[in-house]
């Protein structure tokens, strides 16, 4: 029941996003053929506008778009005559999601590890070193880190390819560059959460049972400390998605980010809509999964469909 209600709410959210994007997009001055206006005669421009229904009033355009969308047809790309938006998205998804998921895994695994270690060695040298790394990670933007990584790992030491896409080796540097800042934030979150948990009474109970420190941390510490970190994965996903735009550009990766940005410059309306719908769906689904995982981690949290 809860899940059905949630899914309906998710669809509603996505519909609101679609509508708002549609309205805002159309209110930007100019249209896809603005750059051709000096070259082509007016009649040709009018014909082209008519082809894409751009001469119709806005509500009609909206209804036409929603009709296609209901059949999961994102329409043609105006700038690229050979590829539809569906093609662009299905080509881009594997690339962008490989990058995003790898970065998420790196950020989570190393961020949690760094945070836990820092917490266990609270106020000792290891803690300070870990937190220094974290501060660096937060303050160095990915567009600075990425060229640095390329300079050393690719250009000077020849360990990894400079850019482009193809083998798994190509994915390493961009994933790392993308992961570092969320990794640092996760480490800081996990550290403070873990310090708090390790001072709780039930940790003393576990200690009094004669468990080893390793078992105490693993079975009693982490599960309780991880909840605030899970909350952060939502905003983190946003960082990763927007981060991919920059990283894909720097590493010349044929992902979705390029189309999203170019689409806006070219006023390629179907591309803007298609990529926006794709990214917002990803985000809404991630938030949904986070809510579900709360329940799995903390039995005190009940998922209920209505407020009381």
């Amino acid at each position: 029941m809860y899940i059905i209600k949630r899914i309906l709410m998710m669809l509603l959210t996505i519909w609101v996003i679609i509508t708002l994007t549609f309205v805002i997009m159309k209110s930007i001055p100019g249209d896809p053929f603005a750059s051709d206006a000096n070259v082509l005669p007016d009649e040709v421009l009018a014909n082209m506008r008519a082809k894409y229904h751009l001469d119709e009033p806005l509500p009609v355009q909206y209804v036409l778009y929603m009709k296609d969308l209901a059949q999961l047809d994102f329409g043609p790309s105006i700038k690229s005559e050979t590829r539809s938006v569906n093609d662009i998205i299905s080509d881009g998804i594997p690339v962008s999601s490989t990058l995003g998921i790898q970065a998420l895994i790196i950020a989570l695994v190393f961020g949690l590890m760094l945070g836990i270690i820092a917490a266990l060695y609270h106020n000792r040298a290891i803690d300070f070193i870990a937190m220094m790394i974290a501060i660096l990670g937060i303050s160095v933007p990915s567009f600075i880190l990425a060229p640095l990584l390329i300079k050393y790992f690719a250009v000077e030491w020849h360990m990894l390819p400079v850019a482009s896409w193809g083998t798994w080796d190509h994915t390493i540097l961009p994933s790392v560059a993308l992961a570092l800042s969320p990794l640092a934030v996760i480490a800081r979150f996990m550290r403070s959460s873990m310090i708090d948990v390790m001072n709780q009474n039930y940790i003393k109970t576990a200690d009094a049972k004669g468990l080893s420190t390793f078992k105490i941390v693993l079975k009693h510490g982490i599960r309780n400390a991880i909840l605030p970190v899970i909350t952060f994965i939502g905003p983190l996903a946003v960082t990763l998605i927007t981060g991919t735009f920059v990283i894909e550009k720097i590493f010349a990766i044929p992902g979705l980010g390029k189309y999203f940005v170019d689409g806006i410059f070219n006023r390629d309306y179907p591309v803007i809509m298609g990529t926006t719908i794709f990214y917002s769906t990803v985000l809404v689904v991630i938030l949904f999964l986070i809510d579900i995982s709360y329940r799995l981690i903390d039995p005190r949290i009940k998922l209920s469909s209505g407020g009381n």
């Binding site: 009474n201 009094a208 049972k209 004669g210 005190r300």
Partner: protein, 339 residues
Amino acid sequence: MSHLLDVKNLEVNFKTYGGEVKAVRNVSFHVDKGEIVAIVGESGSGKSVTVQSIMGLIPTPPGKIKNGQVLFDNKDLLKLSKREMQKVKGSKISMVFQDPMTSLNPTMKVGKQIEEGLKVHQHLSKADAKKRAIEMIKLVGIPNPEERYNQYPHEFSGGMRQRVMIAIALACNPELLIADEPTTALDVTIQAQVLDLMKDLRDKMNTAIILITHDLGVVAETAERVIVMYAGMTVETGTVEEVFANPKHPYTWGLMASRPNPQADGKERLVPIEGSPPDLFSPPKGCPFAPRCPYAMEICLGEMPPEFEVVSGHTAKCWLNDPRAKMAQEEIAAGRVQK
């Protein structure tokens, strides 16, 4: 005969920004097999620190065990390595804490929390550990043990959680159970149930119990011997009958006098002990209770009283018990004291 637990000259300090707090000062006591010993005293008197240092639960730093021995089965626990101590904790000595609401892991099934010790210490298989855990849940008087096994702490009431804590503590049949104010956070009817349960389990399993409390009623009802602590020191020890019938330390008198009298009509005022405990950053040279003691003599302020043995097994650290203080004793006996 050697005792089950013999604490000798224990001294524990805590480093703080203000300096070193001498939380436990030269404390010695013993516990025999199957015996219930109560430690009473007001907040900050060092009761919890004393028993937590027995269990090695004092965080170091800031805590530091300066001196002393904790002999358990004739082995000094303070000299054991961390790993050796882990073998003792939970299997031979275990502990029940004050606040059952926060002492259980909220994200772990209750049954699993009982099992953990069994798996570590007795190397039981999954099935055997589960069987034993359900047995323990039943033993501490929780109905529907099979169903309760799979529940989480938030599905238990406070009293039930304290029963779970006792089940955890007793799962491995320890020789000594330390209960640090096990009933303070519970309401009165549940308090009696939990105390009865502990006594009952002592009779069944012959586990010695150290019961920390500040409730003299609990002491009288449950314990066989009592240790009165004040300002990090033991001031009076003896059997419950002896100490209640014939207390020999003015602090014990004060504690007894400050209890509400059930026979009174309710209009009677409670008698507090005037003043407050000494600053343990720099404890006084003489008797720590002297500044609050209505019977303090000159010597009390200048010199720490030794332990006077009133009768065998009943000791009090108070100069009034010195044969030379005869005059003061007579004066007190003549009527200025309500014991």
